[in-house]
């Protein structure tokens, strides 16, 4: 599996996700600087977490207009899977690969804690290793994770089974307390129409090794390691 991790000024989870990818696939990903306008042949592109460009203007807004993103969008349109984690999810909505927008958390505070997520679909390269309906635990660390979209988009996402993960409590039940940011329909992660682009606020790379307290995130990278597009 040939993966690339896009590195922006202010990215801070690029190395963590590189470790998780190498652990799963045995091959280190290519680290691509945001000023590179050309991408090699790839099976996976990862937009990592962090605070690209200091979250200036809106989180993800500047990164979405950086030179490398045109190449990422072109690759995504050719079917190359793209995974956006946290700030990467914000970049994906800003560049239009995913619908909606991530607004400031409803509680106005940065939230940094483990959350429970229900796996809502296994119909994607990212989630096929999970069991539908199961509850997994991953950390969140964000100030702008409050997913917003108009009702037409929400209805489409729900109708097409494109909500990949939803915030729940440890028992798998939805509640106000289980949602860390006020996100609509308790959405934690969404898929593109083609199901080849996933954006999620929680960090699978931060719990991808049992020595670090959990490995629910590893399932995603193990599934992605098997990827081989043409």
């Amino acid at each position: 599996m040939r993966a690339a991790v896009i590195v922006f000024p202010g990215s801070n989870c690029d190395r963590d996700v590189a470790v998780a990818l190498e652990q799963a696939s045995g091959r280190p990903p290519k680290m691509v600087w945001h000023k590179d306008a050309v991408l090699p042949a790839l099976d996976l592109i990862v937009l990592p977490g962090g605070f690209s460009y200091g979250d200036y203007l809106r989180s993800g807004a500047m990164a979405a207009r950086s030179p490398v993103l045109a190449a990422v969008v072109a690759s995504a349109k050719r079917g190359v899977p793209v995974l956006g984690i946290c700030n990467g999810f914000q970049v994906l909505t800003e560049c239009g690969l995913l619908p909606g927008v991530l607004m400031p958390n409803a509680g106005l505070r940065f939230v940094c804690r483990d959350v429970f997520l229900k796996v809502e679909t296994t119909d994607s390269a990212f989630t096929l290793g999970y069991t539908e309906g199961n509850v997994v635990r991953l950390p969140v660390a964000h100030g702008d994770g409050n997913y917003f979209a108009d009702t037409e988009i929400l209805d489409r996402l729900e109708g097409e089974g494109r909500v990949a993960f939803r915030y729940v409590d440890s028992e798998g039940c939805r509640s106000v307390g289980a949602n860390p940011n006020g996100s609509m329909n308790d959405i934690a992660g969404v898929l593109s129409e083609s199901r080849t682009v996933l954006g999620l606020m929680p960090h699978p790379e931060r719990l991808a090794d049992s020595r670090l307290g959990g490995d629910d995130g590893r399932v995603m990278f193990d599934a992605l390691a098997a990827l081989e597009t043409t």
């Binding site: 203007l57 809106r58 807004a61 207009r65 909505t93 800003e94 909606g100 927008v101 607004m103 400031p104 958390n105 409803a106 509680g107 106005l108 917003f148 979209a149 108009d150 006020g182």
Partner: protein, 80 residues
């Protein structure tokens, strides 16, 4: 020429920062404060001197970068 752009959240989009400001104003004793909405002001200097061309260019900038039109609306003021 100079352009000033006001970016605000669209009506119907919850503005938690505006709400917090409203609560704070009420707590400070300012009576009769209704809904508060927070936005941004962006000032841009442009080499172009034709106001119509400036407006067209700035409108393009707003749609492509300065505002996220999923949740934000914008107003453009040209020079003074």
């Amino acid at each position: 020429m100079k352009a000033r752009i006001h970016v605000t959240l669209k009506i119907g989009v919850l503005d938690p920062q505006g709400k917090a400001i409203g609560h704070a104003l009420g707590a400070m004793g300012f009576d009769g404060v209704g809904e508060v909405r927070q936005g941004k002001v962006i000032d841009i200097e442009l080499a172009e001197t034709n106001p119509d061309k400036v407006r067209t260019a700035v409108d393009d900038m707003c749609r492509k970068l300065l505002a996220n039109t999923v949740i934000e609306s914008y107003e453009i003021e040209i020079d003074r």
